[in-house]
Structure formats: structure tokens, C-alpha cells
Symmetry: C2
Subunit: 702 residues, 2 copies
Amino acid sequence: MATSQTVLGRGASGEAEGGQPEASDRARPGEWARPVIEHVTPRVDGGLRPAKTSVGELLRVEADVFADGHDELWCEVRHRPDRSRAWTRHPMRLGLNDRWSCVVPIEAEGPHRFLVRALVDVFGTWVHDLLARSDAGLDVRVDLEVGAVLVTRALAQAKSTERVVLEALRDHLASPCDPDVAIGGELGRWTNAPSLRQALSSARLRALMVDLGTARSEAVSETVHVVADRPKARFSTWYEMFPRSASPEPGRHGTFDDVIGRLDYVARMGFDILYLPPIHPIGRTARKGRNGAVHSEPGDPGSPWAIGGPEGGHCAIHPELGTFDDFGRLVRAAADRGIDVALDLAFQASPDHPWVTEHPEWFAHRPDGSIKCAENPPKRYEDIFPLDFESTEWRALWSELLGVVLFWIDHGVTVFRVDNPHTKPFAFWEWLLGEVRRTHPHVIFLSEAFTRPRIMEELAKIGFTQSYTYFTWRTTKWELETYMHELTGTDVAAYFRPNFWPTTPDILTSEMQEGGRGAFLSRFVLAATLSASYGIYGPAFELQEHVARELGSEEFQASEKYEVRVWDLEDPRSLSGFIGQVNRIRHEHAALQFNDSLCFHAVDNEQIIAYSKAHRTPAGSDVIVVVVNLDHHNAQSGWISLDLDALDVAPGTPYVVHDLLTDARYSWDGPHNFVKLDPAVVPAHIFSVESTPGPADRGGPP
Amino acid sequence: MATSQTVLGRGASGEAEGGQPEASDRARPGEWARPVIEHVTPRVDGGLRPAKTSVGELLRVEADVFADGHDELWCEVRHRPDRSRAWTRHPMRLGLNDRWSCVVPIEAEGPHRFLVRALVDVFGTWVHDLLARSDAGLDVRVDLEVGAVLVTRALAQAKSTERVVLEALRDHLASPCDPDVAIGGELGRWTNAPSLRQALSSARLRALMVDLGTARSEAVSETVHVVADRPKARFSTWYEMFPRSASPEPGRHGTFDDVIGRLDYVARMGFDILYLPPIHPIGRTARKGRNGAVHSEPGDPGSPWAIGGPEGGHCAIHPELGTFDDFGRLVRAAADRGIDVALDLAFQASPDHPWVTEHPEWFAHRPDGSIKCAENPPKRYEDIFPLDFESTEWRALWSELLGVVLFWIDHGVTVFRVDNPHTKPFAFWEWLLGEVRRTHPHVIFLSEAFTRPRIMEELAKIGFTQSYTYFTWRTTKWELETYMHELTGTDVAAYFRPNFWPTTPDILTSEMQEGGRGAFLSRFVLAATLSASYGIYGPAFELQEHVARELGSEEFQASEKYEVRVWDLEDPRSLSGFIGQVNRIRHEHAALQFNDSLCFHAVDNEQIIAYSKAHRTPAGSDVIVVVVNLDHHNAQSGWISLDLDALDVAPGTPYVVHDLLTDARYSWDGPHNFVKLDPAVVPAHIFSVESTPGPADRGGPP
């Protein structure tokens, strides 16, 4: 918790390292300050760990700032990218309950820092008291004299352009006058005010007087760290596919060239990250058979996560997929289409991995000399050995693993999906991610930890860019609303970027098994509009693959994890067209590219969920309302009660909602509106709210 | 936010100053630890400022603790009073969502510190995996061998009494065996377990194995500071009275001797702090007249808060009240009855205060040489000059004010009610309270700040023992429930101790003006049972004084602030009997002496509020249910839906509620019960819940 430095005997400047904010040369009564600064946001672990932002974002900074007594305060944010020495200043505005805020435009990639600075605004306080006393009919002659002294003192610091303004002000104050006296000349022009009262109340004059040293008793918050990732860290659309199933010819193992052949298809659907499960040689020992059988049959390809064989380990390519040259061509062809290729980082080894013989010290051996396979009793993964991150040789192991990441970065990979990071120490990840980011700040890491909430949060805190979530299992309205509040409405939002997946190769929920096309459409719209980042496991998803291995299982029947599949992309039931349409809407509407403004709206039917997102910039607002039928089998209807304030719709003003899926427009008036959604057609509306007033009328960011 | 020290290169012991917890001599793989410790509570400002507790309390410590992977953890709190060098250990228990907790008995007054320590429990993990593998029918021969190695290693550290137990255990593990094999001998007796499975799962064996060095990868939280006040800081019952109105003879100014004459009356009602408004000489210049008139008439005594005259200032006594000898007798006579005398600390001066002439530098002068009177434009307090805490001579002023506090402590005062602390700098209070507490830890300071929430909270954070609240204006069920959640269910509860007042000499709400006897009874019960500390302004309260100075004002007509009043304590309408009865209930029921267990229960009538408090100790539980009619004019009835869990009532078990006000007993069964309350009789029930099971059956603190 960042608290300002108000304790007697402490200095008032909170910045220990890096460049100092401009040192204050104001006389202060002592080594203590009257303002208190608390609950600065965004902030993670007291500001030591970075909160997440991205290039192009307007970072909203808030703090509780207050002082004793009734004096007015001046608050500002000082901000700089770590590698710059120059601080920029952003005046904050007072909201409710002593909460101050401002927005800071983030332009540079990499680490940033900011702090909040507060002073007692002597001039502002004087203006407030003068006007209050004058309005109460009290004698203000001495007050005017006090003001003239303040202005005269400020004049000593003023530049020539400002001198004219302040001299005019001082002349007004030097003789008894009514605050409502009309003014003109330079003072009137500069403050854009017709009367002395309005000139005194102008924000411009108040800021100038602070700049000229009339504020005092400076408090400075602790420094807060923020990291700005590239925009794709915040807004990304993932497509997962098994390259070995990319062959259009049944019976032939897919290759990188086949994946290149799929790129236009993937790009047409609007995806910008293509995630491939491990592409390394696969072990033979204890290889799993089809549907995860303990014994494999000849010809079974094994699980790609059983990494390592005679052909090599984590820095080798499975020979049937192609060569490093082929891989390079794939990365470049994807880049030409705006697509990043994401690799899987699974830090484990098949019994045939070179590490097992070359570095036995990196594995935990049991008294009988055996290495324990990966296990979560009673479940066992006989084809996989876990690494021992705590062995006496941990330094060499950690170093080797960092080398793996840097190796693939050298081969053009800028996105990694990390397999089960929660089974490796947090300290390892914090170190590895830090080392990579130091030289490659644009690299994105997605944490695939389906485990307990505190552990998933910790992984995000220590540096993972994005995180898998429980979305896959949150199905009712109450579950979705509660979970979204946790992700977007609590401290977690400062560091945890959710990535929503309706299915994965490991997870085919009973809802998806039983819900038919309605479930695929509904869950897809939820993922793509609730979260700025989401992904699908294709082509299984768009082809509505929904048969489970057995009753009660979330495993796919004939899972690609254990066999090569062939997919008919031309299947007329494919959802690829719908997917492409929703992704185009995501790209055209900034509201869907952020999570922070998410707002749920009441509907009088538990089977219908409604929510909005708004993106507000000086140029205008983009507001989207999404309504989804959660019943995959029946049409549902109901009345929505919209929170018009969240939609930037002024009370009593009619507005138009434009369904971007059907191109229909509806004229609505007031909060209560009727909706009906049929899963047999399309179980969702994605409305753009039109004819909303600009932010100038709505108090958006300045 | 206290985070554990898991970052590579940092040491794992978090304690920089004071005694070290016993240094761990376990071999660790490196300078990093696997467990993470977060969100330690109670904790204020990252542990730097003390959370509040009191002597005799069971301090509940909680933390999120987790590690990578599936290993079992060992967590404990290490605690010591600051002045002791020896840490005591308290094993923590795992609750929901990786939240661990324990209770620490607080015995010594003054500052304490604690930290949370976590290790990977290698033995516990081995037991868990062994039993899981065994239950899954897997071959556990190697697992038993691993366990035998662990036990053998522990034996090297064991004392002779433990050796026998561990040798028996090792012998069991050394040969292939079934976990369900029956055991006897020393191992069975020591673990109190009939089978090997139960012996392995016993908490005693697990703790022994940790003690013998089998746990590893130690993480330690930051040190958290706590201050233990004397019990009256937590549980206190205040009576405010103007000593000048204590005379039983109309026309005679009251004296300390008159107050001594009132002590039995005050003690009979059950109060244990007697708070006197300022007892110092009162200024003549600009003295306020009756009802706060700007001009006084001859004989008007003036406001006691206009401190200072020719007779002296803050270290003098108003001559008409008596002498220092008289005051000393009052303090001793009160102490004989268990009552502390509380003085008012109003750091301001009448224009006649000696400071005004002896130390003009302690006041802010305006350009015309005048001193600005206290003011909150357009309100003015012409009889009071504020002190300038920021003058160049602030050190001397602060020192003088500390001297005032120490002066009265020397005269036996141990409780201070501080007038308007929010108009003096926070840094001043933090320094002054710290200085006083260093030598006088038993002194209690009540903050009289009726201002914005963040400011009131900050004053509590920097050291005020108790705080006035918004209770006086929270009247509806929704307002009371929301406000109580803020005070008892958020971080604020760690440092802010509310003190509830139905009225004060400054505040007679319209509810009290209009609500009649019903309002006095209802608001009294709410104050006395919602908050462990409360107070009344008497005798005005028990005599139901309720006439306002004018319509729309919260000032009393003929306020004692500006004139001497005479009170008829024998008035048959006096509520003193009822007050004494409720205070006896508070003293007899520990549940009402704490706020942390407060729980509201649903009632199907907005005019009836119901809540419970429970106090659980190893000796048993005390559970109180309070039901209050908020309608002061009409009888109201409704159905309560009790949360039986909060009452320690097992589902399906009948229970008896005993109304401590009427001595009636009701047999209830299940959560839904009917109540009816008539303000013309008594608008409240205070039920003791009887025949509840002991904590042994309910999972209370160990």
C-alpha cells in the first residue's frame, strides 16, 4: 500500500532510484507534509510488481488524496518510461470521496513508472474562501490584500507572457472590489472569463499559480511500476491447430507447408495468433496410444507433449513436420498476414529426451534409481518425466530452459503458450520472464494454468502476459457475472489478462457435448465479446466436434492429442463465416478490445445475459451491447433494463441500437427493451449504440 | 502488500530488525523459496502501521499461502511482543481457497509483531501421495522406502522420547506393508492411532517431522505490526457530562465535588469512562451567549471550548470547578468505581489565552496584523483562534502540546477525547500519539472527527484508539447494515474502532427530536449492541432532552455548551434503569464486547433489523441475537430468517432464545421465527442463544 511520506523526519520525495521528479524548491515548514496519498491504482504488490498496460492505452491512474482541515489540494501524476529521464505531468481531478484521477497516454513499449504528487493549493484555497466569504456578505478587504500578496509572490517566478496576466490580476486585488466585477484585457482573454470571479476560478490560472510556487507541503507517493506490452498482449484472437492434422490428404502426416496452406483460411476468420502444440520430436518409450491408451499400436504418433527423442529435444523439430527452413517460411508467411506463430513451452521430457541421459541430475531419482513419471495421484503420465527445478544443479537447468526460449525467439517466435506453468516454481518463471523481457519486451506468454485462483493470479503477477481462465466452466448467468466481476472489477484486473477458450484439446465440457450448434455459437460470442483476448481450438471448433471419449469425460473422442486427424474445412455446417464476422466486429469496435468498462444489465430471464462495453477517447465513444441466450435448445425472450449511463445515453434521449450480426437497427427509448433470441437462428445480438453524445458532453477523459 | 521473498537472489528471512526467528538450518536448493505468502491479515499499510488488538484477545491471523505443484505445505505464525526476544509459534490451518489461519493469544500490552512462515512439507506430501497411490492399487514398495529414508533422516535430530516413536515408524516402513495394518506400542500411543494410516495422518507426527527438519524451501512474510491496547480500548461505555451542570442546586455553578457526588449514579448505570468537556478557564473576548449567540450577556459562562483566560490555558482549571486537589480526588473516586475520567483535548485558544500574547508566532497573522478566527466559511467561531501547526516555530508548538497531554497524564488522566483532530496535521498526531504511547501505552485517545471517510480512517490508522462515527445519522436498515459492513467487514476493521453516540452536545438529529421515547430506547440499544464501545451525552440523554434550538437545526435548545443547566435525575421518565440493564448485559456477555463476528439476519419487514454477535473461546461460545424496531411510533412484526451457522446452532436442532431484557424464554426450531416489537413498551429484544453446542463440536479456535 503506497502511503505518502508524511511521518516526521522522513523526506518527502519518494523516489529512491532512477531520475528524480523535479525537486521542489518551495519553502516547507518542516520535514513533513499535510496531504496523504493512499490506494494508488493500478498497483500490484505495493507498486513493486508491474501493473499491466499496453501501447496506445489511456492508463487511468487513481488515488485517495486528502489533508487535514479545509484547504484545497493540487494533485498530479508524474510519469515516465523507465528508459526516459524526463517526467511528464498530468493534473488529476477530484471525484467522489477524496478519489482523484487522470489518464496517462502510454506510448512506449516496456517498463514505465509513475507517482502521485499532492500539495496544499494555497491560491485555490484562498479563492474558495474569498468567494465563500464574499457570498456570505462578509468584509473581504483583508482577504483581497492576502490575495494580492500571493500574486505578487508568484510574479517573481513568472515568464513575461504570464507577467501581464498576473499584473492585471494583482491590480484588481490591490483595490477593494466585488468578485463579480467585469474584467477584460489580457486577464480576461487568458482565462477566457468575463468576470473576476470566473477568472479566479479558472483551471488555467490555478495551474499557473501552482507552477509558480504558491502551493506547498508536498507529498509524493511511492513509485508505482507499470509495464506496457504491445497491443496484441491486450487484444488478441487465437487459433490453435495441430500441424500434423493440417494435411488435406487423408493418411499423410501434416507439415509446416500444409499449415502455410491454411494461413489464408485462418486470416479470413480474423485470427492474429496461430498457436501450434509442441512441434518437437516425440518419445517412443511408454508412448500413449489412441484416446490416451497406456499402450500404443505401431503407427500411433504419440502425444506431442511427450517431448524428445533420438532426433533431439526442445530445440529440435519433429522430422515429419519439416525443417527449420520450412518453419521459417511459415513464420514469415504468417507475419505477412498479421499473424504471430505461437509455440508451446512444455518444460518436461519424454524418457527418450537427450536430457535424460546427458543431464540425469535434472531429474529426481528414487531410491531404486528410477525417475518418477509425471503424476497427480492416482493419475499417471508414463510418457512424461518432470524436471526437478530444485536439484543441486538448478542453475544449469534454468539456464538451459531460458536458452530454449531464446532459441525460438531467434527463429521468429514472439508468442508462447506455456504448458502447466503452475507445476514449476514461481521464482523460476519470474526469473525467466524477466530475463526474456529485458531484451525482448514484445514477447507474449500465455499461462495455461487451470488450477486454484491464487496460483493463477500469482503467475499473472510475476509476469505472464495472458492467462487461461475458468470461463470454460462458467455457464450460468450468475456464474458468468460473478466471474467477470472478479476478473474486471477487482485488483486482479491490474495484472491478470484473461484469455477465454470455449474448448481446448483437453476440455470438451458437457455443455459443448450436448448443446449443439446453439452452444457453439453462444459460447463463441461470450468468449469473443466478454474478453478482449480469446481463442478457439480449430478446426474442431468451427466444425462443431463435440463427441466425448466416454460419458463423464471432457476428453474428445479420437483426440488429436494422440492421433492425426483430417478435417473437411468445406463442411457446410462450418461456423467459419460466423467466426469471421464476429472477429471483424471485434476489430472495428474498440469497445471489444478492452475489458475495463464491462457492465452487466439486468434481464428478467435467467437464460438471457446482457452486458456492455464502452471505449471513450477524446475523439468519441464506441459503445457495444451484447445480449446472449444461454439456453442452447429453446428461444428465450425478456425485458432488458439497461443502465443508460454505462451506454453514454442521456436520460430521456432516444437512441438507436444497430445489430452488427444482422444489420438490423432498432430505435429504443429509455432503459426497458424487449429482446428475443432463438438458438436455431443466432442466439446473440451484438449491438452498436448509435447517436450517443461525444465525451465532451459526458465527462469522459479530457 | 506483504509478499514472501521468493525472488531469485533475495534472502528468505524477512526480518530486518529486532530478533530473528530461529534461523533455518535446513539445506535449501538456492536463494529462493517455493511457497508464496500474500494478503496477510490483520495488516495496515503493508504492516508498517500497527493493526489494533487488545490484551486478552485471541488475534486471528490469516494469509494466502500456496506453492507450485501439488506438494503439501506447512504454515505457522511466529509472534512476539516487541520487547520480548522469544518468538512463539502457532501452526496455521488450511481453509478455503489457499487461506490459512490461526489464533494468537495476546497477553502483553504494547506493540507486538508477527510474521507468517511457510515451508514445503516433504513428509506430509509423502504421506498424501503414499495413501493416494496405495488406494489406487499401485505398487508402493519404493514409496515406503522413500518414507523410511525421510524418517531415518529425522531421527538424527530427534530427542530420546521421540526416537522410540520414529524408530517404530521406520521399522514399519522398512518392510513392505499395507497402510491399514494395525499398530500398537509407542507409535500407536504417541499418535493415538490404531492403524499405520491414521498414525501417518496424525497432526502430531506431522508437526514433529517438520520440527526435525524434513520441511524445506522456507518463505517468510514481511513483519506485521500490531498494537495491543488495554481491554477498555476495545470495550468501553462512555458517559459525557458538563461538570458545571452537576450542581444539584439551581443557580450554583457545578464543581468537581458535585461530579464526585454523581459517580455512584454513573456507576450504577454501568459506565466506565466519564468524559468531561474542557475544564479550563474560558475566554471573555467574543464570548458566545446562550444558544450560541454572537454576543453574550453578563453572567453567561461561555463555551468551554473557548479555552484560556487570565487564569491560564490548557494546563489550568476553570476556578469555579475547583482546584487540582479537587480534580485529583475526582480521578481517584472514579477509579475506585472502575471509571476512567476522560478529558477533552481541544488544541485551540480563546483570544485571551496566554499563548496569544506569549507566543504570537503560534498563530497565523493576516496582513493587517489580525489573527483569523476559526472559520469554515461562511461559519465563524469568533471566540476561538486556531493554532498554526505550520508556522516556522512549529517544533516549539508541537512540543508544548505534547506537554499539555503529559501534564494531565501526570494528574491521573488516562483517556482523552480529542476535539476536531482533522483540522490539525496528520503528521502532528502521529508524532504526538507515538510519543505518548512510548511511555504511556495504556492511554486511550478518542478521535472526534465528523468529516469525510478517508480522513476519519487516516486518523485511526495513525494511532487514535477509538473514533466517532456516522452512526448518529445512519437510521434505516439499509444504512445501518451497509455502514456496519464498512466498519466490521472490510480492511478498516483492522485499525478503526467505532464508538457510537446516539446524541452529542453538538448533534440532536431530527430522528431524536421527533421519535420520542421509542427513538431514545431504539437508538440506545443499537449503539450499545452494534458497537463494543459507545457513549451517551447525559443527563440530557436519559432525561430524553429532545428540543432543538430551531427547526432544521441539530443544536439543542438551551445547550449546555453555552449555559449552566440543572438536571432532575429523579425524573420518573428517566431511562437510567433501562440503560443500567443493557450495560449489565454488555458486561455479562462477551459477544457484545467485540465487533468482528457481527452478522445481519434477514427480516421480511424493513422496519425491523436483526443481527447477532458470537464470542467463541476454548471454554465455550457466547451468542447474542438483537432485534430492534426502527419505527419509533408503531408496533412492527415480521419473520426473521436466521443464519443458524452464525449462531452456532446445528441444522435441525431446537434451541432456546432468552430475552435478557424481559427474562422471557422462547423455544425456536429452524431459521424462521416471528417477532413483534412495540415502541410503547420496549422496541428491542436482546436474546442470549442457549443450549448451543461447545466449540469442540463447531470448529471454533483450537
